[in-house]
Symmetry: C2
Amino acid sequence: MRKIGIKDIDYISMGSTVLGTGGGGDPYVGKLLAKQAIKEHGEVTMISADELDDNAFVQPIAAFGSPMIMVEKLFAGDEFIKAFEMMESYQGKKIDAVMPAEAGGLNGVIPFAIAAEKKIPLVDADGMGRAFPRLEMGTFTLHGIGASPITQADEKGNRNVYHTIDNVWGETLLGATVIQMGGNCAIAPFPMTGAQVKKASVLGTVTYAQQLGSAILDAKKEKRNPLSSLIQAAKAIELFSGKISNISINTEGRWSKGVCEIVGLDAYKGSNMILDFQNEFLMAKVDGLTVAMTPDLIVLLDAENAEPITAETMQYGTRVAVIGMQADPQWRTPAGIELAGPKKFGYEEDFSRIEDLNK
Amino acid sequence: MRKIGIKDIDYISMGSTVLGTGGGGDPYVGKLLAKQAIKEHGEVTMISADELDDNAFVQPIAAFGSPMIMVEKLFAGDEFIKAFEMMESYQGKKIDAVMPAEAGGLNGVIPFAIAAEKKIPLVDADGMGRAFPRLEMGTFTLHGIGASPITQADEKGNRNVYHTIDNVWGETLLGATVIQMGGNCAIAPFPMTGAQVKKASVLGTVTYAQQLGSAILDAKKEKRNPLSSLIQAAKAIELFSGKISNISINTEGRWSKGVCEIVGLDAYKGSNMILDFQNEFLMAKVDGLTVAMTPDLIVLLDAENAEPITAETMQYGTRVAVIGMQADPQWRTPAGIELAGPKKFGYEEDFSRIEDLNK
């Protein structure tokens, strides 16, 4: 158990954005909402999963929708509390602790805003250890936990409860309504017991995000190389370095699908990287050869300061570095690869581990 | 209070399809489900609204979606019970009586299936006195009654609760999810008290439908002219008679929008009728002059037997008659015309009563 204050949020947000691999929502909005809530209601108590009572009622909370739209259509802020309270009133019991559903600039820190306002602890864990573009793509699903009932709230005051037959249907119905709602909403999916959280989460994600954030921000403060610092902290592999030469994006439902092309510079001069994304970066090829693929993490960084760049804020001409990180071991099982591996996104390639692709 | 048995369903279904003005769902499926339930569980007690306790919990039940799809994607039958039971469990109390949300081949009789299975009475009233293409287009809305909470169930087992800020949002969110569900689902909207039903319904709709059905079916049995019999019973105006010469349909979301062209025969020889529809028939013009418009009722009938034809079963070459009926007085108020009049569907014309258009 430890206290999380306003300064910690900068680190956690930064590291969560690294883990968000291009998705997980806009870090700016996430930091703002989390810091405001802590300022108003006081620091948040973060506990590890093993501090949870097995019967505790734990609720993941997340922003849901199109990250592209979230940049322009801001959250009012109280959607998250409304989704939280709808779950409590629907279940007829108090939520004992919240947790992030996924890592990401927004989704990694928004649960701190709820924890602060509701004065309940936040669990140092999440359901992905990264971000993914679909609700069902979580370790919770791998452990057979249903997303339902899911509550949903928008800034206008609409609030709904979904009981879907499986987690794919949860994604389908939330995806259909969030478009009508203007592209974003708050959701409270996967209500769980403490025992389920211990078994089905990626443990320690928030602390890990804070370490990654610190690797970037402290290095900068201490005039060390932030990229080397992050690579070391994340046990990452440097995949490429260059300049963004082309970005093409298509919006399909709540997803931004597209390709980012990077022309190599320095050691990579003469080479070319193609980075596919669907909210999150899913596949990286250099000169036609795959160097990293989902569920391993592909992270796009600003080469100047090693700060992560989300897919919706990529800009032509930016000097970037791309690194790869190993996914949580749960994702590298046959079930994990089936749920969120390359074939799930329409690629014909079998999954290969990043360390094997870059020997 | 009176008992409704299997034979009554034929009459009620036939008359409800007349009132459905092209929409309200497929009569065949409605009759089948209602008769099956009555056969299995016994006759239904139908009560008038004034027999309701003011505090009674009354629940309208309806099929929702695209009538075009409902013809092909059949209901499993238990969606309606699931939506009903979801409402009971959500509200934490028993439903005392059901009622139709709208008249129509399916929606006018499906509540009998629920009433039979649940052994509760059905109220002789509905929320339109006809059918309309949108959830919010009901007399309930005119009286300020919220559609929320709305429960929704599909044949797969998905079941949801919507709390929307207004009834238009109810239509929007249900409309978005029903497409994902394959085009049809069951809903339980507008949970009401007995006092609200007395004030905000179109009273006696089921009995009226039964009378219209009897006007058609008994005339046929007794070798009288069913069309004259129906026109007399409905105080209707004959608008046109001829042969369907062209049908164009576009599907937009859950709506089938289009135009049916009829070339005149006999007394109407040399004339042409254009019938616009959006699930329901909304506007009828003869040789360019409007002869009937929403919210008044425009009914397309088979000229042979005076049986109503729904928009999704219209066929090229059919000999048809078109009649017009006055809408319930609630629809002819400024508020009623604003909610479901011609301007609401994009026409520039002001509403004119059918009796004024056909002096």
